[in-house]
């Protein structure tokens, strides 16, 4: 077995979670790009049927099929897969039971829909089962993927999603589903897996990061990094007190800008707000540091998330220490 593709990202399966709105999908995609650098092949997986990857890369909706979605300059490749629980079930039936025709009959009567929606535990076993299969797949003696990045459900649902054994054990006490869930659970609880949390420097996402880590720890799931997204370089916090209005007026005059009262007051108020915000961000950063996990900060990119932006974020992730 080959070692990790990157010393700062030692796992093989990277589960990326985060509160809604923190940029989880973008970060997952950037991580898949970062881990493909150096001529590796990575797989970016989504499981919630949102087609977030296709939207991000500006492609047509992804089928249930591993497709090349990006390459790196040094010959690396990112493939993407949108796992669909129905398709995963049919594949599972075919792979383990050779139930091609009967599987299709099941679908006609709505049994697949039934199986995959009645108990999310069952559905999640199918989804994570597919992720496990891709993570551990070997072709001609080599691993198909050196890294798999999962754009996972948000913080509120991640514990239940990953805790597949417990969820399915409520329903299937013996039998093939139980076996399947135990295999998934073993992978998720091994050093091959790391669960990373994406957050922004705001109160609620930081609180959820803390809560999620506590939950994952209690479940025995391996915690990876804290990824602080959309972070801005502090301009005002640190040392120099807030600028005074007379100072600001002199600076504006020197720059040849208007020095009327409205401009001076307006800019002064903006600077004070920014300072307050930076102080709050510093507090939240310290709170995250207190969680004792390696952290990486990604810059806020106001231009939107195009391919160039993803490359920028990937470079930061690749140089994480």
């Amino acid at each position: 077995m080959s070692g990790p593709v990157h010393p700062a990202w030692p796992a093989r399966l990277h589960v990326v979670t985060g509160k809604g709105g923190t940029g989880k999908t973008t970060v997952a995609a950037a991580l898949a790009l970062a881990l493909a650098a150096g001529g590796h092949r990575s797989l970016l997986v989504e499981v919630e049927g949102r087609q977030g990857i296709a939207q991000l890369f500006g492609t047509d909706p992804l089928p249930y099929e591993e497709r090349t979605i990006a390459g790196t300059e040094d010959g690396g490749e990112v493939r993407a897969l949108a796992v669909d629980s129905e398709q995963a079930l049919l594949e599972y039936l075919d792979r383990f039971y050779r139930l091609g025709a009967a599987g299709r009959a099941l679908r006609r009567v709505g049994a697949i829909d039934f199986t995959t929606t009645i108990a999310p535990g069952l559905r999640d076993v199918l989804l994570t089962g597919k992720v496990k299969e891709a993570t551990t797949r070997i072709e001609s003696g080599h691993r198909t993927y050196q890294a798999v990045v999962l754009d996972a459900p948000p913080t509120g649902r991640i514990g239940r999603f990953l805790n597949v054994t417990a969820e399915t054990a409520k329903l299937a006490k013996v039998g093939p589903i139980k076996n399947q869930s135990e295999g998934v659970s073993a992978l998720l609880r091994s050093p091959m897996t790391a669960v990373h949390a994406v957050t922004v420097l705001e109160e609620m996402p930081v609180q959820e990061t803390r809560d999620t880590f506590a939950e994952l720890t209690a479940l025995g799931l391996p915690i990876g990094r804290i990824i602080i997204n959309a972070s801005r370089t502090p301009l005002l916090a640190g040392g120099r007190g807030p600028v005074s209005q007379p100072q600001l007026r002199r600076g504006l005059a020197a720059a040849g800008l208007p020095t009327d009262q409205q401009t001076v007051r307006g800019l002064h108020a903006e600077a004070r707000e920014r300072l307050a915000r930076e102080q709050m961000e510093a507090d939240l950063r310290a709170e995250l540091a207190g969680l004792g996990r390696p952290t990486v900060e990604l810059p806020l990119l106001v231009g939107g998330t195009d391919r160039t932006a993803l490359e920028t974020l990937a470079a930061v992730l690749r140089h994480a220490t």
Binding site: L93, G103, F114, T117, G251
Partner: protein, 379 residues
């Protein structure tokens, strides 16, 4: 408020939030949108304003409020009952947090005798379904809304929607769950003999042997027998579930309801808001407007980012404080521009939908005063 938006999108409509909140014909307000856009805060702020400013007897149904917001509303426990909130003024505000499992239990109890209910409660399938089924939270939110509306004791019910994968789940999940509980599929799965006469099932009779075996092999016998027990116990109440979901859906289509789509001026949230608005238009559901939360504004909009940045570079050495302030302003202007581009994606697609903008607050809202500030910004 109106002035702020006019500056950005001159010709766009501003939401008449106060008129909506005061309108006795509006009995239900539903706040929907992507996760993390401030739905709960918006719902609470609207409800508080309806009670305090317009004197309406209001209840706010929250799904999963942040701890401190829940505390601000006096919601210390999840007991599924509206609790009075201490407000200023004459109007009354009550708040409640949805208890999904308890609501489901109540529905079961309402439709069956106590002994049957006990059997249902004890079944592992029911337990899994009542706590984790992907549509249960949405269904139960709608069920609770139906109950609150049915009592006729509220002038206005403000509903926060569950943090779903997609905002559309709130509309779709109840029907999906209703269909499932309606049980034709279930009964067919477990008692093929009974449903053999139906035409849709005859199509698959030929492959049924293999099908039945497949189910056994995949699910296992124990799981099937639990499922069978669940279905048998629920048998008496199949019709009821669907009927209730349909009834509540009809209320949502009625003009007594106003949907408020909540978003932030960010790509994903705006996309989700567009999906939802499209759906509301398509289903002729009553749309109150778009609430755009966390909008940034500049106090000096005439100085653009590039000029501000250039000025900062020019005077940086002699005037470091002023240069930092100018850089902060340049950052803010870039953000304002980006947010504006995002907002326009919605307003161009839905020119007839009015918008209310709420400026970004310096800190999260966790008390009634904070909600009042939001409420004032909304009108």
């Amino acid at each position: 408020m109106s002035e702020g938006y006019a500056r950005n999108v001159a010709e766009h409509l501003t939401m008449e939030t106060d008129a909506l909140l005061a309108d006795p014909g509006v009995r239900i307000m539903v706040c929907c949108g992507a996760g993390g856009v401030g739905k709960t805060t918006t719902a609470a702020a609207l409800a508080l304003r309806a009670a305090e400013t317009h004197g309406r007897r209001t209840v706010v149904l929250t799904i999963d409020p942040a701890r401190r917001l829940a505390q601000a509303l006096g919601l210390t426990e999840l007991d599924n009952t509206p609790r009075p909130v201490k407000t200023d003024g004459e109007g009354e505000l009550h708040a409640m947090m949805l208890d999904m499992k308890r609501t489901f239990d109540e529905v079961v109890l309402a439709h069956t005798d106590p002994q049957r209910a006990e059997e249902i409660f004890a079944n592992p399938f029911y337990q899994a379904m009542s706590t984790t089924f992907s549509g249960t939270q949405e269904y139960m939110a709608m069920e609770k809304l139906g109950q609150l509306r049915g009592t006729e004791s509220w002038d206005l019910i403000v509903v926060d929607t569950p943090p779903s994968r997609s905002a559309l789940d709130f509309l779709d999940a109840p029907a999906r769950l209703g269909r499932f509980l309606d049980g034709r599929m279930l009964r067919f799965l477990l008692a093929p003999a009974r449903s053999g006469g139906r035409s849709m099932f005859q199509l698959v009779t030929a492959s049924f042997g293999a099908f039945s075996k497949a189910v056994q092999r995949v699910l296992g016998a124990q799981l099937l027998s639990d499922l069978s027990g669940f279905v048998a116990a629920l048998d008496s109440m199949f019709g009821g579930f669907r009927e209730r979901a349909e009834h509540t859906y009809q209320i949502l289509q009625d003009p007594q309801t106003a949907f408020l789509v909540v978003a932030t001026p960010e790509e994903d949230a705006i996309r989700e808001a567009c999906y939802f608005a499209e759906r509301l238009v398509h289903e002729r559901m009553p749309m109150g407007g778009l609430v755009l939360n966390r909008v940034h504004r500049s106090a000096v909009p005439s100085l653009d980012a590039a000029d501000s940045e250039a000025a900062a570079a020019a005077v940086g050495e002699d005037h470091p404080g002023a240069a930092a302030a100018l850089r902060a302003h340049a950052d803010l202007m870039r953000l304002v521009d980006r947010e504006h581009r995002m907002a326009v994606r919605f307003t161009r697609a839905f020119p007839a939908v009015p918008v209310a903008e709420v400026p970004a607050q310096p800190t999260d809202v966790h008390d009634l005063d904070g909600l009042r500030v939001i409420g004032t910004a909304l009108v």
